[in-house]
Amino acid sequence: MTHAAVAHSAAAHHTSLGLDNRKMAFWAFIGSECLLFTSLISTYLVYKGRSVVGPYPHEILNIPFTSVSTFDLLMSSLMMVLALAAVQRGDMKWGKIWLFCTALLGLVFLGGQVIEFTEFVHKGLTLQTNLFGCTFFVLTGTHGAHVTVGVLWLLTLWVRALQGKLTSANAMTVEITGLYWHFVDVVWIVIFTVVYLIQ
């Protein structure tokens, strides 16, 4: 965070802990979300290997394909960092570009998830097929829903920036969006590891 942004947020609101209210609320929200995903991932692990009919994970998971999606999402986090840095230094031209790129990579990830889900359904794995289907689709679907919310949020910021209503004075808003985006990314790293890599 640049000195300008620090000075701005400190001047705008005095807080007991010196941390912006919205940012603190967001950290609390992320803590809460951790419990949500922990419950989902734990359920996946508890039910691992308990499906009574196929298809089973090793028959269906496409690690190379999902590795590309994962790389894409990781790169979107990089774009997010660049977007925040640009907005903080008041460079709204690059701020807009990076915000749009972050959203675009998010959309590419979602597209990948649509292709993956469709392929699984064609191979006979649906929500109803077996426990693997239930736990896999609800876990990755919940994550996908989070990415969708993030993309909507980023596009909103991008439109606001195009309208000239998002400036370096709103750097905190972009930072909080970034917190959410990085969190969703980190969750995916865990899901990718637990569901895809460790079978």
Binding site: T15, S16, S39, R50
Partner: protein
């Protein structure tokens, strides 16, 4: 009217929470009275078994989620900002959103009593009927085909959003909006317990949300999360539910403990004994509350190791609770005690909570628990803890803070009548349940035969329940009478030590004309170390900005029940309408000019 619908003032939202929650408390109470009337004598036939199932399910669900939690929330809203010297909560509109979601969620759940005809069933036919902890796989579509469980799982998801939003709000409020000089160890005990409670809320509610989402998918989309034929285990529900459910117990009791920690010092004219220990015990309870959930599941047969561990942790968690009880007693010891109604309820809380705590420790032993599970002994325990504990504590808070919230004192004479009727009534209603349970009467069975030998005890219990109802009637008379004839409270009728008593009753919309600077833990008391603070002037020396109201929190909240109606009625377009309303509300809210 409009100003109430769009209000973002924490005090008004606190009052809205109070009256809404109190209405739900009366509804839950009426359900309890019907249950007790049914059980007053053997082979009762006031209601059918099906209606009875709905009554005890809705009684439990209503009392936990629609009465006790939001009654606590009314004090979080009204009192916490005043105690920390703030002008409002950190996110006033989010606060309004929490309230509207709570109200709509409560109405959604209770609508199930009347809307049977829409589902080709009679009135009083489609209310939730799976018990307040809704064990799988009874709740699966195969065994519960009607919309009853759908109302329950959708309603609870709506209510969860309300609690979560309030949780984030109050954590930030308490950590970040404290007046200058109010270090964490100068924060009043009630506000401290609120903070611990909110941390429990934001960590426990996601877990039940996941459990409910699984159930929703099972019921609507044919998944198998709790279907044993597919290799799943219904025990997953129990783990997820009680992982939430036990922290929830502390979500219900910690605010009451906080209230008592304010009331006792005021009426004993002594600082809270061992403030630091009380605070740390509260935090410790918050942590340990996460490690005891399987004591609800001893009868599952988790094996000797799991049983031993959870037995040990459960006995351990009684320690910080016991520490608090000794601190409260020590606070009274040698104090200059004034026997107000609030103090009666606070002391009643301690006594009743000890009984509930002791029967709780007996459940901690698996061999004993196996005898007690699903009997009235457990019902006795939960009511000593939640009625004798939480409700007594909440009434202590009501009598204590009512003058602050309304400007008028409740009648002490009627208050004493209320207390003694309730105290005798609750012991008459709930103590015999210990014996009824040990004699073998299972809970949740709509009738019993005279041969069981529990008929007299049940009649006694029913008489107690109606005494409680009478006491609540006295309370209602008291608040109605106080409205016009109550004695004016002034700023500080009790001689309280904390900041809320330094301003007028009810406080002006901006709370503090000048934000106070806090130099110690008991700012308004004279102690051997310091003089009392000077109260803020009655009129503000400079104009104070007060944020206006907003319609958008209510609009956003409205999206949630619409969304919930989609699966309930199998109407896809309602889902789109619900999401559109929710998103529209959020966008209008986000871009509305609103300066805090």
């Amino acid at each position: 009217m409009k100003s109430w619908l769009t209000t973002t003032d924490h005090k008004r939202i606190g009052l809205l929470y109070f009256f809404t929650a109190f209405a739900f408390f009366l509804i839950g109470g009426i359900e309890a009275l019907v249950i007790r009337a049914q059980l007053a004598q053997p082979n009762g036939h006031l209601v059918t078994a099906e209606t009875y199932n709905q009554l005890f399910t809705m009684h439990g669900t209503t009392m936990v989620f629609l009465a006790l939690m939001p009654l606590s929330a009314s004090f979080f809203n009204y009192i916490v900002p005043l105690q920390i010297g703030a002008r409002d909560v950190a996110f006033p509109r989010l606060n309004a959103f929490s309230y509207w979601v709570f109200l709509l969620g409560g109405l959604f759940l209770n609508a199930s009593w009347f809307v049977g005809p829409l589902f080709h069933a009679g009135v009083l036919n489609v209310a939730p009927d799976g018990g307040w902890f809704g064990y799988a796989n009874l709740t699966e579509r195969q065994f519960s085909p009607g919309p009853n469980i759908d109302f329950w799982l959708l309603g609870l998801q709506i209510l969860g959003i309300s609690s979560l939003a309030a949780g984030f709000n109050f954590i930030v409020t308490i950590l970040n909006l404290r007046a200058p000089g109010m270090k964490m160890m100068r924060v009043p005990a009630f506000t401290w317990m609120t903070l611990v409670t909110q941390f429990l809320v934001i960590t426990a509610f996601p877990v039940i949300t996941v459990a409910l989402v699984f159930l929703m998918f099972d019921r609507f989309f044919g998944t198998h999360f709790y279907v044993s034929q597919a290799g799943a285990t219904p025990i997953l529900w129990q783990h997820l539910f009680w992982l939430f459910g036990h922290p929830e117990v502390y979500i219900l009791i910690l605010p009451a403990m906080g209230i008592v920690s304010e009331v006792l010092p005021t009426f004993a004219r002594k600082p809270l004994f061992g403030y630091t220990v009380v605070v740390y015990s509260g935090i410790l309870i918050g942590f340990m509350g996460w490690g005891v959930w399987s004591h609800h599941m001893f009868s599952v047969g988790l094996g000797p190791i799991a049983d031993s561990v959870f037995s040990a942790t459960t006995m351990l968690i009684a320690v910080p609770t016991g520490v608090k009880i000794f601190n409260w007693i020590a606070t009274l010891w040698g104090g200059d005690i004034r026997g107000t109604t609030a103090l009666h309820f606070a002391v009643g809380f301690i006594a009743m909570f000890i009984i509930g705590g002791l029967s709780g420790v007996t459940h901690a032993s698996p061999p004993a628990d196996l005898q007690q599970t699903d009997t009235y002994y457990v019902v006795a325990h939960i009511h000593y803890v939640l009625f004798g504990g939480t409700i007594m504590g909440l009434f202590a808070g009501i009598y204590y803070w009512w003058p602050k919230m309304t400007g008028r004192l409740l009648s002490e004479a009627l208050g004493k009548w209320h207390f003694w009727l309730q105290f005798v009534g609750m012991n008459l209603a709930f103590f015999p349940m210990h014996l009824i349970g040990l004699l073998g009467m299972p809970r949740r069975i709509y009738t019993y035969s005279p041969e069981l030998g529990v008929s007299d005890l049940n009649l006694l219990s029913t008489i107690g329940a109606f005494l409680i109802a009478l006491s609540i009637f006295v309370f209602v008379v008291n608040i109605v009478r106080t409205r016009r004839r109550g004695q004016q409270a002034g700023n500080d009728p009790w001689g309280g030590a904390t900041l809320e008593w330094s301003i007028s009753s009810p406080p002006p919309v901006y709370n503090f004309s000048v934000i106070p600077t806090v130099a110690n833990r008991l700012p308004r008391w004279k102690t051997e170390h310091h003089e009392p603070m000077r109260d803020p002037p009655a009129t503000p020396p400079a104009p104070i900005h007060v944020p206006g109201g907003s319609w958008w929190p209510m609009l956003a909240a409205l999206g949630l029940p619409i969304l919930a109606l989609a699966p309930l009625t199998h109407t896809l377009w309602l889902a789109f309408v619900g999401v559109a309303v929710l998103l529209g509300g959020i966008y209008l809210w986000a871009f509305e000019p609103f300066e805090v």
